[in-house]
Every structure is written in C-alpha cells, then in structure tokens.
C-alpha cells in the first residue's frame, strides 16, 4: 500500500517543509522524538519498509552522531561538568542538547526518504510552475540543465582519464581538483550555449513576451491537501506536546 501514490511532486516538497521546519524551533528530545516516531510508523504505509528506510537512510544515520559530537563538546556549558580540555566543555546541558540534536537530525532527515520518490524532472517542473507559480522560464531552464548532469559526469570521467593519460594525475590533489573544476565550467558554458540555442530554436524566447501553455496539467487533488495537512498537524503537535511536557527549548537556548 502506498498512501503517497499519485501525489503531485510539489506536495512532496511542501509536505517535507511542513513536517520538518517547525521542529527547528526547539532542540529537545520530545518534539523530535514524536515526529520521528510518526515518520517511522507511517513509513511502511507509504511504500518504504523499515529495511529500506535503514538502507537508504544511512547518510542521515551517519550525520546524527556527527551533529551530536560538536554539540556535546561545545554546547553552552551549564550544570555539572564531566570533561574539559581547551575550548571543549562536556556538561549536563551540552549532553542534553547533544541527545536532542541527535534525534532531531533523524526526525528532519528520515522523512526525506519517505517522501522522495523517483520524480521525473519535467513533472516536477510542471508542478513548480503551474502549482507554485514560480517563474516559468527559470523552472524550465533548471529542468533542462538538470538533464545535463549525466553528460557532465561522463565528461568528468573523460577528463580524469585524460589527465592520467597525459602524465599529470600524480600531482597534488588541490591542483588536480582545480583543473577539473575549471574544465567542467568551460564545458558547461559550451553545452549551455548550445542548449540555449536549441531552446530558442523552439521559440523559447517568445515565452517572455506572451507566456506559454502546458501540455501536461499539474494540479493538487484532495489527497495532496490531506498529506500536507497531516504533515503540518504532526509537526505542530510534536511541538505542542513538548511544550505541554515542559521540555520545549526555544532554539536550544531557553
């Protein structure tokens, strides 16, 4: 069963924003924990099994401790001190914040796995332009350019091999990186110029004067609104529960 089937690509983004942004208001275990629990419980109903959540979510599982450690070391020192060296103070407060941020990183990151799906860039572009009414030409430009990513990756492979073939791949990493970055920028400008000509050859330049029609309609259905409403309710409720229980900490400072 997939409750998220057939929703507009835009709903996926808006839902993500609604579900996770309010959580940023507080650094506490309760608000983050409630939201995280919801995400994990609902995931299998949205086509993402727990196994898949773990497999796809490993960057987030890695990011959580990486966010917690600096917090534990450098969070505002309050309460009992457990360890101290140079600028680092491991205290009651910093440990509490570290635990909270650990859970929050998961709460903010894992919904991405659930809400993401293989979205066609053209469909996403349709949604951004027709539903969110973002500037048409920019959306279309971004979608067309996104298609070039795989071509650029091939270019990068070719450039790396070329440097190896010419005897200059053994040099310093920074220098190597810079020549690759530069080469990539030149190639991108070339491809971009050709793409612009190709798009103008299909009358893209007329869009500025008199707009355009859309071959595929993109709109929001009842399901889209429900998904977004649920996301908002969950995040607000998470914060509400934290406030009620007394663990709410505004931006981690209060």
């Amino acid at each position: 069963m997939n409750l998220l089937r057939d929703i507009n690509p835009v709903t996926r983004i808006l839902g993500l924003i609604l579900l996770t942004t309010p959580l940023l208001l507080s650094v506490d275990v309760v608000s983050a924990g409630v939201a995280l629990a919801f995400t994990v419980l609902v995931a299998p109903f949205c086509g993402v099994s727990w196994g898949r959540l773990l497999r796809r979510g490993w960057p987030i599982l890695l990011a959580a401790p990486l966010a917690a450690i600096p917090m534990a070391l450098y969070g505002r020192p309050e309460g009992e001190t457990y360890a101290q060296f140079l600028f680092a103070h491991v205290t009651d407060n910093s440990l509490q914040l570290a635990a909270a941020i650990f859970v929050r990183v998961l709460a903010v990151g894992l919904p991405v796995i659930v809400l993401s799906a293989d979205v066609d860039p053209t469909d996403l572009g349709d949604g951004l332009a027709q539903v969110l009414r973002l500037p048409e030409r920019f959306v279309l430009g971004a979608v067309a350019a996104a298609r070039l990513v795989s071509l650029f990756r091939d270019d990068l492979d070719s450039m790396r091999r070329a440097r190896r073939a010419r005897g200059i791949a053994d040099q310093g990493r920074i220098r190597y990186f810079l020549t690759l970055a530069f080469g990539l920028l030149v190639l991108s400008l070339r491809r971009g110029a050709k793409l612009a000509t190709a798009m103008e050859a299909r009358s893209f330049n007329r869009v500025a004067e008199h707009g355009r029609t859309w071959a595929r309609e993109s709109s929001l259905s009842a399901r889209d609104w429900i998904v977004m409403a649920v996301c908002l309710v969950v995040s607000v409720a998470s914060i509400g529960i934290a406030v009620a229980v007394g663990s709410f900490r505004f931006l981690g400072v209060a």
Partner: protein
Amino acid sequence: MAPLVEARGLGWRHASRIHPALTGIDLIVQRGERILLTGDSGAGKSTLLAALAGLLGDEEDGDQAGTLTVRGTVGMVLQDPDSQVISSRIGDDVAFGCENLRVPRDEIWPRVRRALNLVGLDLPLDHPTRYLSGGQKQRLALAGVIAMGAELILLDEPTANLDPAGQTEIVEAVEAVVAETGAALIVVEHRPHLWRAMMDRFLRLESGTTGTAGTAGGSGGGGSARLVETTADDLPSLPVLPAAPGVPAGTRSLVEARELQTIWGPPRTLDLPAGCSTVLTGPNGAGKSTLALTLAGLLPPEGGRLHYAEDLRQGLRKAPHAWTSRQLADRIGYVFQDPEHQFVARTVGEEMAVSGGDPDRIDELMTRLRLAHLAEANPFTLSGGEKRRLSVATALVNAPTLVVLDEPTFGQDPGTFTELVGLVRQLTADGVTVLSITHDEAYRHALGDHEVVIR
C-alpha cells in the same frame, strides 16, 4: 505569392569580433524550395542560418546590417544531438515547441503523435530520451520542429556527429517530412552527396579571404562572404586518399589480447601489429571505447590476458592500468574524442610543456603540427581543427610507442580530415603503432592496415 525569405544586403558582426561574419548577403527563398548550402569552415554558414531562425540576439550581441524578412515559422536542427534534447521523455520533448507557441493543450498531443510518425520514431510517448541513439535524437529534434508547424526547416550539419546508420536515418526522415508538409528546406552540410537527390538549388558561401591565424576571434580573417549559386555537379567531393598498404608479413605484435574481458562486452582476442595503423570498428554501443581505454591502461581489465611487447613496457613489470600517470604518458598516448577534455593550461605553449617533455621535441612537434604561431593563444579559443592538432601534439610529447585515437574525425570538416590521415601515416612511418576508433569509411580505407571489428 510573397517569398518565404527575403534578405537584402544582410550583414552581421558579433559583438566580440572585429570583422563581420556576413556582409551583403542577398537571398530569396520561395515556399517549398529545397536548398543545399555548402562552403568553407568559418565562412559564416551557421551565422546565416541563425539569422534566418531569428537567433542572432539583440543589440547587446552584435550589429545587423541590411534587411531580412521571414514570412513564416522557422525551425532549426543543430549539429550536436545531445545538446538538443530538452526533456527526459520523447513526447514532452516534441511538445516543448508547441507549448512555447501557446498551442492549446488538446491540439498539442495530436501534433506530437503526427510528428513522431513522420520522422519514423515508433516509440511510446514516455520513452526516455537518454536511451536514444544519435540518429534517433536528431529525428526527435526534427519532430519537435515539425510539431511547431515550421514552414522553413533549417539543418546545420545534421550528420556531422552521427555514425553511418544515423546519417541515413536523418536523411530519410527529412525527405519524408518535407514531402508531407511541403516546408521549405535549407541544409548546411559537408557531406553533400547524402542530400543531392532531394535538392532544388545549390548555394555556396565563399569567404572573402582564407582563414588566418587563430587569435581571440578564431580563424577566419576579415572579408565579406558571398553567396554564390552553383549546380549539383559542382559540389565539394570527398578527398580521395591512397588505400592503406596492409600489414607487412612477419610483423610482430606490439599488444596481444587473449580473451580480454573489459567492463563492457564479451571477451576479445586481438593483436596490434607494431608500426602499423589499426582501426577499431563496429556499431555504436558495442564497446569500442571501453576496449581502447583498457588497452591503453586507462581502465582495468576484468580478466583474460593482455601482453605488451618489451619496447612498449620499457622495463616495467606491472600491467599498464597500474602504472603511474607519468609512466603511462611516456609509453602510451591517448587522443580523446573531445579535445577540450584534455586541456589544462592557459596557453598552447604551457599545454605542451605541462607533462615535462623535452623542449626541443616540443618545438619540433609544434612546428610539424603548425601550432608554433599559436603558442600564446588560449587552447579553448582555437578552431576545431587546431584543437584537434593540439590534442594530438600533447599526446605525442613524451614520444610514446603506442598512440590511440578515439574517433579523430568526429565532427571535423574535410580539410582537417586529410591533415589527420597524413599525420597518422607519418607516425607509422616513424615506427609508432597507432590504434584508431572510427566509423568513418574513408578513414578506414586510408588507414586500415589492420582492422579489428567489434560486435
């Protein structure tokens, strides 16, 4: 009835150049006329087409002289198949132009289906564009043009980046399209023999002076281009080159591959005879590049045996893919399909010196490849032919024993072609072993001492 295109005294100068690309062009095109436009590289053919398509830009980009009236929708198909694909699904790609012209939604999809039918692309509308071959991509662009209802179809060297199969595909598609829609047609081409049969008129754009040294403005000095009416018999023909002499009896193998397993394709068995030119041919997607990269030590093999003669290994025991970059450059040179992938320096001179070669050899190579006068120029500002020569020169700097070229004639004009063939012949005369990946029939004929066919 008023002509479709009327140009009188048309001229155009790019803002960043000193000399105009076009001056004093007079041209009248009637509805349904089919014109083949030939001319030297850099003479301004692409600029003329861009002018007809209304793509030259505004006053920020340059100055226009004379008048140009176009009475109808114009569509253009460009040279590079990859750069013209706009959407990830073929239906959406064809619909793109219609959307921009404000065609109502219920009219768009019938037009899309008709256009795809006309060009012979019998694929579902959501077929991914990235799985299309070069020829299919060109036909897709053509479909996009027809769906817009173009009354004038312009094609700028449509076959330059295609293999022979793709070339036939696009020519047939254009023929079908023009017959059905009655649109006028202007094709710019270096392979005029493909289009001869269907054309009514033949024009040639002659530059006023021959191209001079490449500076920031690129090759092609000043002087006005003239549009000259010519006939079907006066078309530039392919250069006739002597056939390859074949491999002399008893030649040893420089490289032996036995059941070599690369990361793509079945195991291969082949030999590269020393001091000869071998061509590697086969259909697109068969794995020619992967094989060449593996033989050149740029990709690790997955299995099988790969043996290199001592004069290639020069004392090294490990396999080439484990050699360091410097060791590799001293033994095997690789010329990539896109020269720009290889450039790392700011001037041509620095480019040659970057791998630490002998200065005398650098000078000699630059003179031999006619790059000496470009020593201070930025590599990216060179013309196509000059870039190709530079990429070959940099591969030769460390005096490698084996040189591999990946589609060296791709997208090049006939002049550069002859030059390249001469260059490779000279290399084999000097004892260097050469391997070329190519689908160019003429190249095969002239340089196919030994041929390896891949399926």
